[in-house]
Subunit: 101 residues, 2 copies
DNA sequence: CGTGTAAGGAATTCTGACACG
DNA sequence: CGTGTAAGGAATTCTGACACG
């Protein structure tokens, strides 16, 4: 589950290069609850490739004038969808194995 | 081909954390031709997850007393093997398509 | 040969704040 | 609300070199 994609090892400077977003923007989106970088012992932020993809989507929406508040809600809803799908799948598998017993 | 795994975005400090190798060691293995980090405009090194895997293999071999020179030769030979396999595969595909014409 | 270390400089990252709007 | 910026401090990274062996 923790593949390269989700490994938080990238500094904010590199994220800036990769996304074109300013460090100020990147930190602000964190403050608004859109991303959650890891912190090293010393306190510097580390991002994953997943974080970078999320940031690029955020950048797109911001360009369309969508507020961080809206973006966050959308992300939560999409997560809910995924959770529901997961739950349904689990339920079906469960029923399936029950039948086999 | 350029997946997350081969994307050179990790600083030497993080590589140190991930591999346990000192910065001195990491730079020395580069000097010996075992790894090739990217350089940013400013000149700081950036490594990929692939580089980190190679470094961990190097660390193992060094513990067994294998010299950097030997390690490099091994790496070149393995690359040659891969190249030969690729070439053979290409040849077979070629023959196959020739037949189809 | 492989690795540690001190040296000095340059660039990075962090936080809290003021600014504009 | 979202983002820029100057401020000051602390940690990072780089190179060339001396050291030991």
């Amino acid at each position: 589950m923790t593949s390269y994609k989700d490994n938080k090892v990238i500094t904010i400077g590199t994220v800036n290069e990769l996304t074109g977003l300013s460090e100020r923007q990147i930190r602000y989106y964190e403050e608004r609850g859109l991303i959650y970088p890891k912190r090293t012992k010393r306190g510097t932020r580390r991002y994953s490739f997943s974080d970078i993809e999320i940031l690029m989507k955020i950048a797109d929406k911001r360009e369309d004038g969508v507020q961080t508040n809206e973006i966050r809600k959308d992300m939560i809803n999409k997560k809910k969808d995924t959770d529901i799908r997961d739950e349904m799948l689990r339920g079906q598998l469960n029923a399936h194995f029950k039948k086999l017993r």
